[in-house]
């Protein structure tokens, strides 16, 4: 990999990755990017996959997200800031893809889409994926960012381009929708425990 640094500045350490220790304001070079990538890529892949329901498309969208992320001239205060920005970019990339797919009538979510992927262990996971896939893309993003990524309402608002105050309501509705879908499939929390 080239030692040349791209022309933008960043960053402070990713707490979860010692290899990523860095000095704030130092340009993001290939080594720092590699550490950042290793700390975030698997999570980002999972997020994109849950949004699109298509593993092959997710591979492309992951690359597109990182490339678009690397093109930015934004200055990052911390690795957490950088991670949030990456997820914001990825959300836009995924939504663009979904819009384009729906124009081409190729949306493969819910019963039609998630079933195309290989499920390592049984019906429960497939039902979970299908129930999640039946939600609207924005609801999927809301729930994933809140529950899996642990994003705050402000961070979710920034990622989805909605007002911070709306997130509370939208998240509540998305949770209720998912709960009802889970119940419809016999996957209500009571049934799981």
């Amino acid at each position: 990999m080239s030692a040349a640094a791209l022309n933008f500045t960043t960053v402070v350490p990713i707490a979860t990755d010692d290899a990523a220790r860095r000095t704030p304001g130092r340009p993001l070079d290939d080594g720092l990017f590699e550490a950042f990538y290793r700390a975030t890529a698997a999570k980002l892949w999972a997020y994109l996959h849950r949004l699109t329901g298509d593993a092959a498309a997710t591979d492309d969208l992951l690359q597109k997200s990182y490339i678009r992320f690397l093109r930015t001239s934004a200055v990052f205060e911390s690795d957490e800031h950088m991670r949030r920005y990456l997820f914001r970019v990825a959300t836009n990339v995924a939504f663009d893809h979904l819009r384009e797919s729906s124009r081409r009538r190729e949306v493969r979510l819910g019963d039609d889409g998630a079933a195309h992927d290989v499920f390592p262990d049984g019906d429960l996971r497939r039902d979970l994926m299908r129930a999640f896939g039946e939600l609207k893309p924005r609801d999927r993003a809301l729930l994933w960012l809140a529950h899996v990524e642990g994003s705050t309402h402000e961070e979710i608002a920034a990622a989805l381009g909605v007002g911070p105050k709306s997130v509370r309501v939208l998240l509540f509705r998305a949770r209720k929708k998912l709960e009802s879908l889970l119940k419809g499939r016999g996957l209500a929390p009571e049934a799981e425990r």
Binding site: M1, S2, L6, E34, H147, E154, R175
Partner: protein, 156 residues
Amino acid sequence: MSGCPLEPDVLRAAAAPPSGSLREHIETCHECRAAAAVAPSLARLASIDLRQRPLPDPSVLWLKARIVRGSTAASRAARPLNTVQVVAHAVVAGGWAGLLTWNWPALRAWMSSLAPGRFAGGPAEGASLSLTFFGLVLVLVTVTILLAMYTIAAEE
């Protein structure tokens, strides 16, 4: 966080049963109750790894990003040149139009003097074009050829 202040605790409790006070709170807070209802399912969903292929190498992405940045920079750098080219085309076209309009009567007379009938009737009269006109034609022809060559080279 603008929602219920205990929401993060509720989400964290998805993996393990919530403590007594948190459980009481969940019973009374409709937001946290909704969060707690879906949290275990989402935690399970997050644990499913459906990757069929390994993740791409970061060095490849780094390289691709550099290439994209390079081509973006090149097109940005070419933008003023493209503008100059368009302006040059307009100036040359305007020059030709102006020159021909300005000297149109003399040009018409000169062209009439070239008609075969005029030669039969004797020497032509009054069909003179100034040296300045020919000088300007020469300049415009040169500029037009150079511009055409530049345009072809730039496109290639």
